[in-house]
């Protein structure tokens, strides 16, 4: 056993086959991690190309048609290939069984299958990309998505296939959480990340099939012409919007809920203090999941739905603010009088608190009908969405990635470079997107390749910001890659955290726990507010 390096899940088996046929949740988590990082790079390149085009008012770098494809592909790649699988399938797969004291997820083969299904779906999306792209926007609204000559069918089919991957991950997690908790791991002793994943999994299982059938109908409409979205044939294009948002609104909570779970972990661990309001945070995750199914109509205030429906949807949308606010206050209360360790995971968690507050509050503006009618389809929407998705989910993903990196690979990254990178991303992000709130209020509509001279200064700022943010990500890619080979060896608990994954070696052995642990205390039992390793 103890020759040079202790046996762990990374070195016990070698060769490409041992990865492609693995049933180990940790390795599958890494397969997902590498996949989403690749697609994040692709989506990011599209984003930078867009910002370069928008640097100056005329559409000079790309033709307007190419620009339409750029924003569509940026959206579709980032949503379906990056953000939806990012936290649950990559970090969740790695951490969930460790958090509840299990040896693996309930269905390891299904877990591997879900990755292959994801890759097959992704291949269809890539095929669409190289065979003419898509210019409908990531929402594939009818009737345009039925009539455009671009490669809609492979992209939509790819999203359809990836939906099954998401369903299988969610199903696997629900069963794992119900049936594979270690002895003594009661529901209220589970780390809050697990609660976040549980709420996410419920949405994945309940909402994704509806997206599946919607996209299948869109394909049928385009290929066979069944007429159900075509007013000339007695169909209704607004029906498509209802179906699409019935999934896609809950889907934005698929993106944010696991992120909120990570923030709970990181804030508690790096302020060395018991989380404030454990049950409130746990139940607010379920509250958000439940409410998420009842608000889809707020995407459609100007689509011609009935005023009554719009009012009900608007009212219910305000409701989402309550559980989100509960979480926010509990996190801040956890920080209060904690022994705060400002290393990289905490920096990203603090960035999350700051940016998600802005994203969430502007969401309340947009939930108010009169304001939404004015701001609909402007850059204000773009800014709000990115404050929630990048300021929220991506910051949480980065917090989690930096937090669990030593556990995943047994190496520490350069803390100094991580801080520089966090700063670049934070500054670059705010430059890019805060300006877009202003552009939106001034009336700049989204999805245009050219714009009047008066918007040039703000667009210029935004474009410079995007390059600063890109520099931050490139630096991160560099130091993370470097750490894999030259990073200092991480001990098993570099943050002084109390959850179960920190009680085993870094990287963990293949079977996770030598002996099944018995749990007799809460997940965040910090005796005193001591420093790391204290």
């Amino acid at each position: 056993m103890s020759d040079t390096a202790p046996k762990n899940y990374l070195n016990e088996q070698k060769g490409i086959k041992s990865w492609l046929l693995t049933h180990d949740h940790k390795r599958i988590g890494l397969l997902y991690l590498y996949s989403i990082m690749t697609f994040f790079l692709v989506g990011g390149v599209f984003a930078v190309m867009m910002r370069l085009e928008l640097w100056t008012p005329p559409s000079d770098l790309f033709s307007p048609d190419t620009y339409n494809q750029l924003f569509t592909l940026h959206g579709a790649v980032m949503i379906f290939l990056f953000i939806i699988p990012s936290i649950p399938a990559a970090l969740g797969n790695f951490v969930l069984p460790l958090h509840i004291g299990a040896k693996d997820v309930a269905f390891p083969r299904l877990n591997l299958a879900s990755w292959y299904i994801f890759i097959i779906g992704a291949l269809f999306a890539v095929y669409s990309l190289v065979s003419g792209g898509v210019d409908t926007g990531w929402t594939f609204y009818t009737p345009y998505s039925v009539t455009t000559s671009t490669a809609v069918v492979p992209m939509v089919f790819g999203a359809f296939v990836m939906g099954f991957s998401s369903i299988f991950t969610g199903l696997n997690f629900i069963v794992t959480i119900h049936k594979l908790r270690a002895p003594g791991m009661t529901w209220f002793r589970m780390p809050l990340f697990v609660w976040g994943l549980y709420a996410t999994a419920i949405i994945q299982v309940l909402a994704t099939p509806v997206l599946g059938i919607t996209l299948a109908l869109l394909i049928m409409e385009r290929v066979v012409g069944i007429g159900i979205f075509d007013p000339a044939m007695g169909g209704d294009p607004v029906l498509y919007q209802h179906f699409f948002w019935f999934y896609s609104h809950p889907a934005v909570y698929i993106m944010i809920l696991p992120g909120m779970g990570i923030i709970s972990e990181v804030i508690s661990a790096l302020s060395h203090k018991k989380i404030f309001g454990y049950k409130a945070i746990a139940f607010s995750s379920l509250g958000i999941a439940l409410t998420s199914f009842l608000v889809w109509g707020h995407h459609m205030f100007i689509s011609g739905q009935s005023e009554l429906a719009a009012m009900v949807f608007s009212f219910l949308t305000f409701f989402v603010g309550i559980p989100s606010g509960i979480k926010m206050f509990n996190w801040v209360a956890t920080l209060y009088k904690g022994s705060i360790d400002l290393r990289a995971p905490m920096l990203y968690a603090l960035a999350f608190l700051f940016l998600f507050s802005i994203g969430g509050l502007t969401g309340i503006f947009l939930g108010a009908m009169s304001v939404d009618v004015f701001l609909h389809d402007t850059y204000f929407i773009v800014a709000h969405f990115h404050y929630v998705m990048v300021g929220g989910t991506v910051m949480a993903l980065l917090a989690g990635l930096h937090y669990w990196w030593p556990k995943m690979f047994g190496r520490m990254y350069s803390e100094g470079m991580a801080r520089v990178s966090a700063l670049l991303i934070f500054v670059g992000f705010n430059m890019t997107f805060f300006t877009q709130f202003m552009l939106g209020i001034q009336g700049m509509p989204r999805r245009y390749a050219s714009y009047p001279e008066q918007f040039a200064p703000l667009h210029g700022y935004s474009s410079v910001g995007s390059l600063i943010m890109a520099a931050g990500f490139i630096l991160m890619g560099f130091y993370l890659f470097y750490s894999l080979f030259k990073g200092a060896r991480a001990d098993k608990n570099p943050w002084g955290a109390t959850t179960l994954e920190w009680s085993i070696a870094s990287p963990p052995p293949s079977g996770n726990f030598d002996n099944v642990p018995t749990i007799d205390s809460d997940p965040y039992e910090y005796k005193t507010a001591a420093g790391p390793n204290g």
Binding site: D104, L171, K179, L180, G225, L239
Partner: protein, 215 residues
């Protein structure tokens, strides 16, 4: 595995006892069935909306479905659900021959269902009672009668795909059963397939009155 000494052969390494594994499989299967209901739920929604908008077309068009064939298929599918349940029961009693017999019956009944469906489809193809822009039939009053056939072919088509999937799984169960893979100690896959098959049956029980018996 260090704990293999008291680890039964059918128990995967990450479970501690057989019961835990069985319950996990059951919960997973029920969740899967839930996703199936939601998948069809979208189509049920479509049906409800288009029927509410076009009550006359749905009424006029439904006369062109063959109630006799529909009823026959309903009986066939319900019978297949019974034989599926009996197959599980036989395995619980360790009666392998009976289990095989019932599984074969289920498979054959599913085949009969598809054959009947084939004749129904072929007849409609012949008359041009097809979805959307391929609709050429002249005999139904009202605007956009093709909508009825769009919804009809979508729903029965998706159901038919589920029947075919079920048949291939049952075929696999037949192979496994004849190789003595299942017994009263371990028959989880058969039980799970049974749950799936009952759902496929149940969906048809909704589809039949919705299309054939619009009164």
């Amino acid at each position: 595995m260090s704990h293999s000494s008291d680890h039964p052969a059918n128990l995967a390494h990450h479970f501690t006892e057989v019961e835990q594994q069985q319950e996990s499989a059951k919960l997973g299967m029920w969740l899967f069935l839930l996703t199936e209901i939601l998948l069809f739920g979208g189509l049920f929604c479509f049906y409800a909306i288009f029927r509410a908008w076009n009550p006359d077309i749905f009424h006029n068009a439904h006369f062109h479905l063959d109630v006799v064939m529909g009823t026959l298929n309903t009986v066939v599918l319900i019978t297949s659900s019974v034989t599926m349940a009996l197959a599980i029961r036989s395995l619980q009693l360790d009666q392998k021959r009976a289990a095989l017999w019932f599984l074969w019956s289920t498979l054959i009944l599913a085949g009969i269902f598809l054959v009947v469906k084939y004749f129904e489809y072929a007849h409609k193809f012949h008359l041009g009672q097809l979805p959307g822009k391929y609709y050429t039939f002249q005999g139904i009053e009202g605007t956009n009668p093709h909508i009825f056939f769009s919804v009809y072919f979508l729903m029965t088509g998706l159901h038919g795909i589920h029947v075919i999937a079920g048949m291939s799984i049952i075929g696999w169960l037949i192979v496994k059963t004849s190789r003595n893979r299942f017994s009263s100690q371990y028959y989880t896959p058969v039980e799970m397939t049974g749950l799936y098959w009952h759902l496929v049956d149940l969906i048809w029980i909704f589809l039949f009155p919705m299309f054939y018996l619009i009164g």
